[in-house]
């Protein structure tokens, strides 16, 4: 040790032999526990459900995972930043309803409705964030409020405009084909049809993970969730970061809503309720800490993948789908305990 000190500073910092092993460093990542769980579940269903082993099933599983996974990214980032969003499930439907009804009723190009829906979704996120940082009321309560408001609005406004609980079919309107290509198309690789949302999902996971781990914004997200007062004291714009995270939830809610709209062409106004918990569960299984400051978006993707495998696996195994919730509960508990244990090891005093 004294030898290294005597050398000039440049020479004193080559890679140290004492650096912890790669295995250890992989072990303390937030998503490690969930990865082990995902492999276990993969092996389990591959063993008990023969259809699960086919390539087409893999595409189905990935598609089911992506519909949860895209939102789970934003929800995970928000949770790492120390906040919750219970309105995440219904705001997806709000975005879809806005785009659909606005375009249909005013006979606009669907691109116009889609862009207005984007503004609406971002505004919902901004309002959530603004209320949380301005009032200091826990986001759990603020977004419970917006959740109820949006749920009511979705149903009431749809009924008022269309007279039913669903929107009209938009598949013959201008702009439909191009929008469907963006949000809800599919393509074939080696005879297997893959939905475009899977690609979007992987892209969003890659970008968000890079942002979280390798950019200043990512550093700030971890800091405001880990200790907002410390972060503020060293000059991190805590409130802006939090509002930004809520707006990100709004953006991906819009994206998911557009997928919903352009793959089914009509939207049920009562949908979305309960999905907020799926997103949160995917994030938690993936290692996000409920109290903030810890987690990863790759973890949220693994959490969503576990979700997709379990929903489809139960079907392929020929079981009653009612078992799904039971499995989900077990996985959530196992994941939480594993993550707790991994984190204890990671932060144990050396």
């Amino acid at each position: 040790m004294s030898q290294t000190l005597e050398r000039p500073p440049e020479a004193a910092v080559p890679k140290r032999p004492a650096r912890p092993s790669l295995l250890y460093r992989a072990f303390v990542r937030p998503e490690t526990g969930s990865l082990v769980g995902a492999i276990a579940i993969l092996i389990f269903f591959a063993a008990v459900a023969p259809p699960f082993r086919q390539l087409t099933s893999a595409a189905t599983v990935l598609y089911a995972s992506s519909t949860i996974g895209i939102m789970a990214i934003a929800v995970a980032l928000l949770m790492i930043g120390g906040e919750f969003d219970l309105s995440a499930g219904v705001s997806v439907v709000t975005a879809a309803l806005t785009a659909s009804m606005l375009s249909y009723e005013l006979s606009l190009n669907l691109w116009v409705g889609t862009l207005v829906a984007l503004v609406v979704a971002l505004a919902i996120g901004w309002v959530n964030g603004y209320l949380v940082v301005r009032t200091g009321i826990p986001s759990f309560l603020v977004t419970l409020g917006t959740f109820l408001m949006l749920q009511g609005l979705n149903l009431a406004v749809t009924k008022m405009i269309t007279g039913t609980v669903a929107t009209r079919n938009i598949s013959d309107m201008d702009g439909y084909d191009s929008l469907r290509a963006v949000f809800a198309s599919q393509f074939t690789i080696g005879g297997v049809a893959i939905r475009v949302t899977v690609l979007w999902w992987l892209l969003f996971v890659a970008v968000s993970s890079y942002v979280l781990l390798r950019t200043r914004i990512g550093n700030w997200i971890l800091a405001v969730g880990g200790n907002a007062d410390s972060a503020r004291a060293v000059g991190v714009p805590v409130n802006k970061v939090k509002v930004g995270l809520f707006v990100t939830v709004g953006f991906l809610a819009w994206f998911t809503g557009m997928h919903l709209l352009y793959s089914f062409n009509t939207v049920q106004s009562g949908e979305g309720v309960g999905n907020e918990f799926r997103y949160i569960i995917a994030a938690v299984i993936g290692g996000a800490l409920l109290t903030g400051g810890y987690g990863s978006t790759i973890g949220s993707a693994i959490g969503a993948f576990i979700f997709g495998m379990t929903t489809q696996g139960i079907v392929y195994a020929g079981w009653d789908p009612d078992w799904f919730k039971f499995f989900l509960g077990i996985m959530l508990l196992l994941a939480t305990v594993t993550n707790l244990w991994v984190r204890r090891l990671a932060t144990r005093r050396g």
Binding site: R216, L222, G226, A233, V234, G235
Partner: protein, 270 residues
């Protein structure tokens, strides 16, 4: 009074000066008539019991609160900080006892938090992680903190080490004035020694240090100037050569009140 005049003569323009500063929260007057100078290369100790107004004082200096009366001057220029960022930009850094760091984040991320080094690379301007790791390791080892790994969460370090990382960070980012809020309060004797040694090093490097503490022994080890607060007002103000440790301890312990209490308790025991 004579001491005040002397100081004005022997020192140049102080880094930070408070003149007759007061702060009230609604009807509650937390601070009244506090005057204080922070000179380069000196440690100014602010002592006081719980609720004496110490935290209000540092919050004004660090930009978390604004004074309701009196003047705050930096380099002789009157200022009013709207945020901690503004104070930081003027070279005033504050290290809080309980919120110095983000425990679950790595040492190097904590070191550079709020002042991250980035590469110019479209579109994300990513962090220069390798460079920051290298700098953090070098800066810490310069200050006598040897870590096995700057990638470990800072929560795995001891309390004293965490304080030192926070101080090293402030020094590295060009702090001229260092405000330390009870840096030794939660530490054992040995850990306190590490931090005090570190404070002395910062002082020798020419920084103005404001040390907030309720431990007169720690204050007397490093202090050049002492201010004791009592119920929001200054009850003692003097340089090191005008004051003894006994006087300081006496003032801090509550002085006459403590003597009365001592005799009262003694009688009760008999």
């Amino acid at each position: 009074m004579a001491a005040m005049v002397d100081m004005a003569v022997d020192a140049g323009v102080p880094l930070v000066e408070m003149v007759d500063v007061g702060k009230s929260y609604g009807v509650i007057q937390a601070l009244r008539g506090v005057s204080l100078r922070v000179n380069a290369g000196e440690v100014t100790c602010v002592l006081g019991d719980n609720g004496a107004g110490k935290s209000t004082l540092i919050k004004i200096m660090s930009g978390l609160h604004q004074q309701s009366e009196g003047a705050l001057r930096v380099d002789g220029e009157e200022v009013r900080f709207g945020s901690p960022r503004e104070a930081l930009d003027r070279g005033i850094a504050t290290v809080y006892q309980d919120l110095a760091v983000v425990p679950l984040m790595e040492v190097w991320r904590n070191f550079f938090l709020g002042s991250e080094v980035r590469k110019r690379l479209w579109p994300f301007n990513p962090l220069d992680a390798e460079g920051m790791r290298r700098t953090a390791r070098a800066e810490l080892s310069k200050m006598g903190i040897e870590l096995d790994d700057v990638n470990q969460p800072i929560g795995t370090l001891s309390g004293g080490q965490r304080q030192c990382v926070a101080i090293a960070r402030a020094v590295y980012f060009g702090a001229r004035v260092l405000i330390l809020d009870e840096p030794t309060a939660a530490l054992g004797v040995k850990q306190s020694g590490v931090v005090l040694r570190y404070i002395a090093r910062a002082r020798d490097a020419g920084l103005g240090v404001v040390l907030i503490t309720h431990n007169p022994h720690h204050a007397y080890l490093v202090g050049d100037h002492f201010v004791v607060l009592k119920r929001g007002q200054m009850s003692l103000d003097g340089k090191r050569d005008e004051i003894t440790l006994d006087e300081l301890t006496q003032q801090m312990a509550g002085g006459d009140e403590l003597e009365a209490l001592t005799s009262e308790l003694r009688r009760a025991q008999v």
